[in-house]
Amino acid sequence: MSDKINFVQAINRAMFDAMEVDADVILLGEDVADEEGGGVVKVTHGLSAAYGCDRVRSTPIAEEAIMGAAIGASLVGKRPIAEIMLMNFMTVAMDQFVNHAAKLRFMSGGQTNVPLTVRTMTGAGGGAGGQHTDMLEAWFAHVAGIKVVVPSTPADAYGLLRGCIEDDDPCLFVENLPTYWTMGAPPEAYEALPLGKAFVEVEGTDLTIISYGRSMMECREAVTELSAEGVSVELIDLRTIAPFDLDTVLASVAKTGRAVIVHEAVTPFGVGAELSARITEELFSGLRAPVARVGSSFNAVPYAVVLETQHLPTTQRIVAASQNTLH
């Protein structure tokens, strides 16, 4: 099997390939061009060298203007990738993204659409504290007209980002900074993965664990621990949060009768709530235990290591919630 790659390489390659096959793909963001280092963590390195500083533009620090420029260009044939460095900075661009990008197709009666991909990094674990690490995907999933995608492996990052760029709707692609350099298998094919499709990563019969993004890593550890105890876990990587793949989720939980949902976002009013509600609405009598949720504790992301570690959904908490669901 060929060499492993990390998320930075996968995401960089996805943009490189997308820009090669489609001259309308452009990239806007702070420090994205090589003259500015090709991104604060070099995710966009080499793109301006390959495609020029017209298509790969470093911007001023002005998220509303970045988002608006990407939206406007997308209305007339471009397929912009807008990099909003960190997810907390989406708060600066919310008007353009939510009131405009998400709604222009509907409000124009389908005359216009916004084939825009917004890439943003986030995630706790690095000591960046309360304003640089939030997982806010539930906000965007609650807005009609937006697709929300969160990869959990470098290969998925490649395929799903290609999928977002090729998609005709505004997509929010969420990247996890602390695990950017984690290695994984390369994509089987260097092409787009379908959006809206979950992936059954491990098959099992006793319990379904549903997660996405960075938390999949803790879930994989939990699955190992649980199998050691003889528990047969089915592990589902949601991949797309909105619109999510209800069929795959229901098929699995109908089989296992038990579900645990895991995400890094704080539990209350998070993505897990919608999954729990939908699963229960559809499978009520078939459930052998209430759907469980494991998320971060309900507070701002703390700085101190001890607090940050306990704030996050640890493998132990996932295992405990699973055992709790089984007994």
Partner: protein, 328 residues
């Protein structure tokens, strides 16, 4: 003040045609809304501001892009939007520009370059930059125009957009229609600068204040800005001085003017003033203009009938146009 050549008589007649169409359209909106017919649900009257887009559009074609705001029906009409679909949209009919789904604040008609209408103050500027960026990348000569009000010059999006447009020399025009009031807040109470145009200097951008109700001055200022944008000279900020004859939106008592201010402005109504000027100067005869006015009325009659005769959208429209693929 500006070097751009003056409009010819024919051009002035076309400016009048557009402005008068917007003016008569506004009057019809009021009467139709009062009559309760058509069930138009919300309306922001641009009455008094028609000369601005009427003169601007002497320099634009359907290829050029316009991003306007809730108070934008005068911009849309001058940019050539078909009245039938416009009225049908206001009436919430399926034959409307947006199938009745967008309504007055979100009228969209790409065929005439009416790309976006926003209800968010400041929302028009960042998007116009993006349209201009696409033109720049494609190497075409299209110009993008963002219209907005004086109050909008105090929101963050204004600042971010002008800075970016200047850095990238985007072919965009920021057209501030300064009607001296923001909802009920007088210009000077919300804006810490005497002239919005002076803010252009903060972005090394040409900025000009012009009497937007003067068709000749407005024609020249817009012409210069369009020429600059088309020729790669980058963005321009135009502050077009005007006046809002009606309240913020229909039903607003509009009590925020000082004694006589509003009456004086209405007495100087720029559209009939242009009509008189055309005859004075011998650019047109009364008969010619009456012909134009009858044509306008006929178009409006036709549009109203069209809207009335049209049907409402089906409930299925709720699930359509949300995403590319319909979601059940």
């Amino acid at each position: 003040m500006t070097s751009y050549s003056e409009p010819s008589g024919t051009e002035l007649i076309e400016i009048y045609r557009r402005a008068e169409c917007a003016r008569r359209n506004d009057e019809r909106f009021h009467s139709v809304m009062q009559s309760g017919k058509l069930g138009v649900r919300i309306y922001y009257s641009p009455r008094g501001q028609e000369i601005i887009p009427a003169a601007l559009c002497s320099h634009l074609s359907a290829e050029d892009y316009l991003v306007t705001i809730y108070r934008g029906v005068h911009d849309q009409i001058c940019k050539g939007i078909p009245l039938r679909e416009l009225w049908a949209e206001y009436a919430g009919k399926v034959t409307g520009t947006c199938k009745g789904k967008g309504g007055p604040m979100h009228v969209t008609h790409p065929d005439t370059g009416n790309m976006v209408t926003t209800g968010i103050v400041g929302g028009s500027l960042p998007i116009a930059n993006g349209l201009a960026l696409a033109s720049q990348l494609d190497g075409n000569t299209r110009v993008s125009v963002a219209t907005f009000g004086d109050g909008a010059s105090n929101i963050g999006a204004f600042h971010e957009s002008l800075n970016m447009a200047s850095l990238w020399r985007l072919p965009v025009i920021f057209l501030c229609q300064n009607n001296l009031i923001a909802e009920h807040t007088r210009f000077e109470k919300g804006t810490a600068v005497e002239r919005v145009a002076d803010r252009a200097a903060a972005y090394s951008m040409p900025g000009v204040r012009v009497d937007g109700n003067d068709p000749i001055a407005m024609y020249q200022a817009a012409g210069e800005a369009v020429q600059r944008a088309r020729s790669g000279g980058g963005p321009t900020l135009i502050e077009a001085m005007t006046f809002r004859f009606n309240g913020h939106l229909i039903g607003d008592p509009d009590e925020h003017w000082r004694e006589g201010e509003k009456e004086a402005a209405i007495a100087r109504d720029p559209v009939p003033a242009l009509r008189a000027y055309l005859i004075d100067q011998g650019h047109a005869t009364n008969e010619q203009l009456e012909l134009i006015e009858r044509e306008i009325d006929a178009q409006i009659d036709d549009a109203v009938e069209f809207a009335q005769a049209s049907t409402e959208p089906a409930v299925e429209e709720l699930t359509r146009d949300v995403l590319a693929k319909e979601v059940a």
